[in-house]
């Protein structure tokens, strides 16, 4: 659920409705101090939470082209770069988690909804290729709203094939892929690499699915079931391995990497 900014300093929690001091949130890994609701967090904060300190070496950055000549796309990219300090929606590099080396990819929702265009697709493919070459596991943290980068049209769609194939090649080397689904993982991201993990974990309350809830509601004209497409719902329907609260994610992934060394 989007965090409603009330003013610069306070945020209203979507879990319990209480106002939370932003500084406080940063100290608690973006968990509501009152109810434990998982706020969205940026890729750099996620990296700090997940990877061993000082272990991360990022891949060289890539910058999006405008393959369709979509009006205003370059400007959107530039704005997102300025706002987030990222080159695109994926932060990818070599890292260690709980002392085990891996290739880590984190999708950041604040960069154009974490949507997958050519850059995100290419970075993910490079992540799996590098991991295959060095016989390393891959840990990917997904959190992309609509999944597709509409401004890249068919090129965005093809990233689903490209990333799924990179997972397939890495997997056929007998290597581990841990896919962590955070709020929200939908559309083309969910229906490609993110679903193909050997182990699929999710954060509590994360929205996970193919078609967005509003689209489902409009198409079917039914009231959606309680908790539809949440991580808990996905677990109940057999779609994910486990729900892991944010404070335990690093330790959980660390154990998994250790067991697959």
């Amino acid at each position: 659920m989007p965090a409603h900014e009330t003013d610069g300093l306070w945020v209203r929690c979507d879990g319990c409705g209480k106002l939370v001091f932003k500084r406080e949130l940063e100290k608690t890994s973006f968990l509501c101090p009152a109810c434990g609701h998982h706020f969205r967090m940026g890729a750099p904060q996620r990296l700090a939470l997940l990877a061993d300190e000082g272990s991360f070496t990022p891949f060289p950055p890539l910058v999006s082209a405008n393959p369709l000549g979509f009006p205003g796309y370059e400007e959107r990219i530039r704005q997102a770069q300025e706002q987030t300090g990222l080159d695109d929606a994926a932060l990818v590099g070599r890292a260690a988690i709980g002392g085990s080396s891996c290739i880590l990819a984190i999708i950041d929702f604040s960069f154009m909804g974490g949507s997958m265009g050519s850059v995100v697709g290419e970075q993910l493919v490079r992540a799996f290729e590098k991991a295959a070459a060095e016989r390393l596991p891959v840990v990917a943290v997904s959190g992309g709203g609509g999944g597709a980068r509409m401004q890249e049209g068919i090129f965005s769609l093809m990233q689903m094939a490209k990333t799924a194939q990179a997972v397939g090649r890495h997997s056929r080397e007998g290597l581990l892929f841990v896919s962590i689904l955070t709020h929200p993982t939908m559309g083309g991201v969910y229906a490609s690499f993110a679903s193909l993990g050997d182990i699929i974990l999710a954060e509590p309350g994360a929205l996970i699915g193919f078609a967005g809830p509003r689209i489902v509601e409009e198409a079917t004209r039914q009231k959606l079931p309680e908790g539809f497409q949440t991580a808990e719902y996905a677990l109940e329907h057999g779609m994910i391995d486990a729900i892991v609260p944010r404070p335990q994610v690093a330790q959980c992934v660390g154990r998994l990497l250790l067991w697959h060394r």
């Binding site: 060289p60 068919i154 490209k162």
Partner: protein, 322 residues
Amino acid sequence: MQPFEWEKPLLELEERISELKQFCARSKLDFSEEIASLERRASTLRREIYASLTPYQRVLMARHPKRPTTLDYIRMVFDDFLEMHGDRTFGDDAAIVGGIALFEGQPVTVVGPQKGRDTRENIARNFGLPHPEGYRKALRLMRQAEKFGRPVITFIDLVGAHPGVEAEERGQGLVIAECIEAMSFLRTPIIAVITGEGGSGGALALGVADRILMLENAWYSVISPEMCASILWRDSSRAAEAAELLRLTPTDLLKYGIIDDVITEPLGGAHRDQAFTGRQVKAFLRRYLAVLKKTKVERLVEERLARFRRIGQFHEVKLAEI
């Protein structure tokens, strides 16, 4: 079905020609010169109208209710067909048909979404919007083809995968990912033919192939022009503008290297002469199947993967620029 606005002058002219012909037959009067002249005008008009279709006009042609469906192509292109049902897990999805067919004596596996030809059939077929069990059936049939070394031919014509509560509960996203992954590594030749609508992940789930062919009045994109317009301008009635921006026509996609060839349709669209369209599709399949059959399966898979690996446009950033 209302005729499209841009076709009306032509349809009126054709109507006049046919009336004149009937009148001649009844009255035994000779109007053959007038008829010939009108037919010349009709033929010019036809070329003028259909040579300059806008992207959105093509989208509408792709959705024409009389357009051939997957089962029509199966009937027109193959000598024999045994339909196979069910995903062996949950049910049989009527929105996807599949089975074994004979293509000029050779067994092939055929899979494709099936739209209805009328409202009743469309309801039964869920307007060609597959549920997860449809994709699981497709996957099962493709794996069966791989086992027996049969080429796979997919026909693609769907707006997207079904957006529904049950579809989500039964793993729509997961199964689309599985289809994409499985087709990528399938050890048998695959040809995909986009015959009408190529809508997003639901289409790609049947579209990872060695050769991707597309009919002249078909579209393929990550989002429908209506949805794109409603996101961009909160107004789905501006779909025609969105269709321009999305570059979803075969001409664009051929230029980008997303598809390999464009199958020409009769002037006025596939529905105007189904038999001709069927022969066209058959001729293209014959040509590409022959090429693929000559290639070792290891190389097919390598080339298939390499083809998708290349897709994407971006700039490398030199470290000095950061």
